[in-house]
């Protein structure tokens, strides 16, 4: 399943890539592949902006604006004037 086209903020700077394959390991949507010992984005529209790749890329080759893709979280954020936040925590129910 895929969400909207052309909205993901995922960017890969191939020049910084050292080919460690960590992004391939952590991505839950198989967004990356290896071509000539460097990572490459297969289909950016598969990206859900979870941020696992960027966090685990120790060479800083990946950037993405991360956050929860959750309407309730965004509404909470607007109501509380904060960043989108899902109330997974004990006091409330909804989880991302």
């Amino acid at each position: 399943m895929q969400y909207f086209k052309n909205v993901s903020t995922l960017k890969l700077n191939a020049e910084l890539c050292k080919g460690c394959k960590m992004c391939i390991t952590v991505c839950p949507h198989a967004v990356f592949e290896m071509v000539d010992k460097k990572a490459r984005i297969v289909d950016v529209d598969d990206c859900m902006e979870c941020g696992a790749c960027a966090l685990n890329c120790q060479y800083g080759a990946i950037t993405v604006k991360t956050g929860v893709g959750c309407a309730a979280a965004i509404i909470n954020g607007i109501l509380n004037n904060t960043e989108p936040s899902c109330d997974c925590s004990p006091s409330e129910v909804k989880c991302c």
């Binding site: 895929q2 952590v26 685990n56 959750c70 309407a71 309730a72 965004i74 899902c86 925590s89 909804k94």
Partner: protein
Amino acid sequence: MNRPFDFQTLKPIVVAASAVSPELKFGDYLGAIKVRWGIGRDNYRVAPGLYKIRNPNNESDVFISANYKLSFDALRKNLGGMNAWILVIDTKGVNVWCAAGKGTFATNNLVKSIKENSLELVVKHRRIIVPQLAATGVEAHKVKEQSGFAVTFGPVRACDIRQFIEAGYKASPEMRKMVFPMRERAKLIPVDVMYRKYQLLLVLVVIFFFSGLDKTGFLFAKMVETGLFPLLNAVGAYLAGIVLAPLFLSWVPFRAFALKGAFWAVVTTVVLNLLVPVSLIEGVGLGLINLSIASFMTMNFTGSSTYTSLSGVQKEMKVAIPFQIAFAAIGFILFISSKLV
């Protein structure tokens, strides 16, 4: 020589780890059903700390888990027959993926837990197996730097762990991929059904009350007599949005969740109007309210889905919410008008 040693003093040390069975009991399954309906979900936890499956020694694998009991149970039930350590870190009772996103299943918390439980004295090796979905919060190279333990990211699903180990701690591409089949979606639906129950109740009370409106004023008998159909619409739309749409998520071609919900609102409205014929103006009015309710509810399911992004949901909401508000308002005006003619 399979007891852990303190390498400085070369004396066996006592490892404070609770034994835990890889077999789930009736109570575990019952608890899982309850928590899926949101009952006691805020407090479905295991105590953070070190646990052992069977008789692990200082060479056994160490698995890291969240302290949400469903996460912990999913892990231990798949470690049957193995000797292993489980290090449960404090994620405030939240599952692995959500906790990683929220920053509790994260590098600093993991490192802290490794140190608090003196993992370096419990095992000789320096490897820990962390669920792949924790990678949103766990920075593998930093964990190594700060604790000495190298992170191996395990498969997405605990049920693949055995195969993962047999393959030499390697996950196949399929094991690395998050899928969202109907079975998984069905499991998440109950909590979402319960999520906005009070808002639903409020809508029902308001709709029921306005059903009694009449050009002569307010008639109690009319409310009781004609109020049932609008109530049925609202409940139907709510369930269409949060049960039908998620269940058949991939069957409806629209990408926007709000549109998927709107589709099921139309179906619900048509079916209800075929069963109970009402005036056109009331039918259309209720239909618009249904559209608003169902599309809003399905949009809420983005939080439970496994593939929606923040940018995407923001984009969807910018368009959908004005429509939802407008449909609800126009629908309500039409509904009230139908009562006054």
